[in-house]
């Protein structure tokens, strides 16, 4: 792809079947349709996506040297600490939320969203770009620290603190981490020969399954939209502006760590996206006073659609432009 305008990127993204299906989901809620993907199928698809993306990342990881990968990992860990701190501070500029609710937000924005990453991967691949396979490793790495930092920030405000043992156990043994890390190990052990036998399932079907999944996520997000009004415009501002900054940090960090344009764009997406699987569960259990009406609305009702529709091409454009400035190809 030639250096492309941000508008062309945005249109290509908007017209991709997954994003269109997401829009259909939003629409279905608007016209009060009872359309839903059944819960067990939703769960199964999320297992499929996590394991599949893990395995593919593992196959790629096998060919990466430690030399190549240590700097991106360090940068990712730094992002995993700075982004939730940023979210905690920035959210106080836009909203009047107390420390516990801002800690909850920090846990969500510090962690990351598999589906946003997946949609970005599809976007990058279908526009013929390259991205390092070990980005999935960074996805797995970025899941956890943000949640811990967020809970730490909130726990200072919480009398009684937090049951850390229980909470950490729940995050680390949660299905996101088990499937991503397990998938990485499976992929690395099986290699591309082993992967070839399962490619039709975990490879070929991927975008199609993602389309079905985003239909349901459109419905889930659409049901959150009425809450957006209740929570006020401050949260909308936070949920759209903060990702713009976090995404820039991710892209810059990625380029600084030597990632390709596509890889830096993906690290931007990881940084800008906010968790809606691992973080909500952890926060719900560890911080029951924090209101799901705030953190889920922000994460799922505002930032997720924003990233899917506008953010992904934007962070790619960041990477292309910044990469051009510093003389990357």
């Amino acid at each position: 792809m030639e250096t492309t305008s941000v508008v062309e990127l945005a249109i290509a993204n908007l017209l991709s079947p997954p994003v269109l299906a997401f829009a259909l989901g939003l629409l279905a809620v608007a016209i009060k349709s009872d359309l839903r993907l059944p819960e067990p199928v939703y769960q199964a698809i999320s297992i499929y996506l996590l394991l599949g993306i893990g395995i593919k990342g593992g196959v790629a990881l096998r060919d990466s040297s430690l030399q190549e990968i240590w700097l991106p990992i360090v940068v990712t860990l730094i992002l995993g600490v700075l982004i939730p701190l940023g979210a905690y501070v920035v959210s106080s500029w836009f909203t009047r939320l107390d420390a516990i609710n801002r800690g909850a937000l920090a846990a969500h924005y510090g962690s990351t969203s598999l589906v946003t990453f997946t949609a970005a991967l599809v976007f990058i691949e279908s526009s013929g770009q390259f991205a390092e396979g070990y980005l999935v490793t960074l996805l797995a790495i970025l899941e956890v620290p943000g949640i811990i930092v967020g809970l730490l920030l909130a726990s200072r405000a919480r009398k009684g603190g937090i049951a850390w043992g229980e909470s950490l156990q729940e995050v680390l043994s949660g299905k996101s981490i088990v499937l991503l890390v397990g998938g990485l190990a499976i992929g690395a052990a099986a290699g591309s020969v082993g992967f070839a036998t399962i490619e039709p399932f975990f490879g070929g079907l991927f975008t199609g399954v993602l389309t079905l999944f985003l239909l349901e996520l459109g419905i889930v997000a659409g049901r959150r939209l009425p809450d957006v009004k209740k929570t006020g415009w401050g949260l909308v501002a936070f949920g759209t502006l903060f990702p713009l900054v976090a995404g820039l940090a991710g892209v810059a960090g990625g380029l600084a760590a030597g990632l390709s344009v596509g890889g830096a764009a993906l690290l931007g997406v990881l940084s800008a996206s906010s968790s809606y699987i691992a973080a909500p569960t952890a926060v719900r259990l560890a911080l029951p006073e924090a209101s799901p009406g705030i953190y889920l609305t922000a994460s799922l009702g505002i930032t997720f659609p924003f990233n899917l529709i506008a953010g992904i091409p934007l962070y790619y454009w960041y990477a292309e432009t910044l990469g051009g400035l510093i003389g990357w190809n």
Binding site: E39, P280, T281, R284, P292
Partner: protein
């Protein structure tokens, strides 16, 4: 047939709580429990359940004293912050020693 009277505690809570609740019930000494998937709405409205698989409905048949102890435990640990309701009702069983 000899019938013994027991109390049924029915708890409805958001499903993320399942393993914690079961653990606390076992600590309280329930002789058994039955869980069914559920969804619903209460006075507090929307919650995390929206994404994570709705509610669960737990039913446990046990002696009246344990039932009351469980209600206290729920009131202390769950009612204030979580989507969780509970009620007691009366039942008769054969094999009283089982419950």
């Amino acid at each position: 047939m000899e019938l013994t009277s027991r109390t049924v505690v029915t708890i409805v809570a958001e499903s993320a709580l399942e393993s914690r609740l079961i653990g606390d019930l076992q600590t309280a000494g329930v002789p058994g429990y039955t869980v069914t998937p559920a969804h619903g709405a209460g006075v507090r409205g929307q919650r995390e359940g929206d994404i994570q698989g709705g509610n669960i409905r737990i039913e446990t048949v046990l002696p009246h004293d344990t039932a009351v102890a469980i209600l206290s435990m729920l009131q202390e640990k769950y009612f204030s912050h979580y989507a969780c309701v509970a009620w007691l009702s009366e039942a008769s069983v054969v094999r009283g020693e089982h419950f």
